[in-house]
């Protein structure tokens, strides 16, 4: 997507300069995490976990909340397969790190536990590029604060790309 979109936009601009329509007015163009970027992000997560001798599941969803990439490091507890996906989905769907939700519950607002299909535990972080929510990553396997460390490392340097 990343490599295709610029050319597409360039072409659109050229066409527009010659009086062509830049794009049907009714569609929305959305940037999204593709497999190549997902693998790059996941590699950073895996390296950070390995560096600490941690084992985690890494899940990455796209801008629609759909799974793009998942890797389970050997020996990670099986429950993390679902938990990592749930954290990523929650972060994407609610446009915030799941830690924000965990803090709200810790502050006593239990009512948000009733949110459907939302996992309110640290380790899920949205992937934001140029202000757009293009996906999210979910990490599970260690203490949730450690999962959060891995998620942060996974996204480090991303905005500069």
């Amino acid at each position: 997507m990343k490599t295709i979109l610029p050319r597409f936009l360039l072409l659109s601009a050229v066409l527009f300069a010659f009086g062509a329509r830049p794009a049907p007015a009714q569609v929305v163009n959305k940037p999204s995490v593709g497999l190549e970027l997902a693998k790059k992000i996941a590699a950073q997560a895996e390296a950070k976990a390995a560096e600490n001798k941690w084992t985690v599941v890494i899940a990455i969803v796209d801008d629609g909340g759909n799974l793009v990439y998942l890797a389970k490091m050997d020996g990670t507890q099986l429950g993390s397969i679902e938990v990592a996906q749930a954290k990523a989905r929650t972060a994407l769907k609610f446009k915030r790190p799941t830690k924000a939700f965990e803090d709200v519950v810790a502050g006593g607002r239990n009512a948000i536990l009733s949110l459907p299909d939302a996992l309110l535990v640290e380790g899920g972080v949205p992937i934001v590029i140029d202000g757009a929510f293009v996906g999210a990553i979910g990490i599970s396997g260690m203490k949730s604060s450690e999962d959060g460390v891995v998620a942060a490392a996974a996204l480090a340097g991303l905005k500069a790309q």
Copy 2:
């Protein structure tokens, strides 16, 4: 599986003795609860329950979280059939007794109530042999603390075997 594995291990041991690779490098070798061990553990659970005139469901899952053995003592509430399995699965998937989760919730960390497919009530305990998580047992039917007593009795003496 039963007939293939012993030969495989024998070969591995022989190869190892001669400095060869003990197994194809790319596979992970995992010990797991088999039916014989499951029956032995369940018999200890049933004896403990009967000794207290308790009735419970006993569920045992393997290292992949799949059911190996289940027995429902006469008169046990029907809901315990699912609950015992959920406790066993939770203990296996998250590599800890479900009581650890119950304690965390009791301590005020309500956020983990949002964990998907996890039953955070005492009575599920992982089966750990020589440091490996080979399965888990789930007990349900009485008060959860009593379920925990049965689960502990079920696994008593296991490491010494």
Copy 3:
């Protein structure tokens, strides 16, 4: 697990060499797909798909039917995320390629359409190493015969490794 198992196997081999029990009699030892092997298999699948300009989801489960790796190639239909996992799980759980089931249905035995949680369409293949079912791959995204081509390419050369 990763750190514990090698020592466990080493000890077993040593004990075996001295005529001792290779492992506690009551546990079953099972080889399983790890992340390294899963990535290698998936890379072969992705290369085969790219070679044909096909886009697919690649899902790999371990010997317990639990997801180890998933990658969705850009542009693949979203339904394939679930379908690829279901094919892999079916192939693992029933120890046969899902094509075998599709052929049985095509042959007129419609009764097996009632199998619970089984996807009877080509594209799921068990991963068998030295006679042991260590996992399975599921491919979805193209025509099911094309999914089957990708799955076969993914596992090519595996036994010789």
Copy 4:
């Protein structure tokens, strides 16, 4: 249950002879498979399977279709855990061997594939004692005709008890 009921009925008869009520008129007394009988039946199934070097899952449900006993022989395909339960439940709920359904589908009546939560494949047989449907057994793991052989062996001699 088996040992309790006769005494209960005897007592009722005695009470009745002296003008006491035999039982509240509005309740229904139902014979049902208990754990002791389930284990006896399952032992016969396991012996038959072992005799043929087959590996199967054995599931036994009570008169309410609820699981009483399950055992998975080592190496049995994981899918059989669900399939054995589904066969038992189907045989109990529809008061007939699942083979009867398989034959109907084989005869071309595909419409019954739409029955909810029914598995229409041989290997499930109701447990009938003195004309009462007290439970059912489901066997899965081999070819369905072989599963049927195991189920039949499991129930052999039962009516004579």
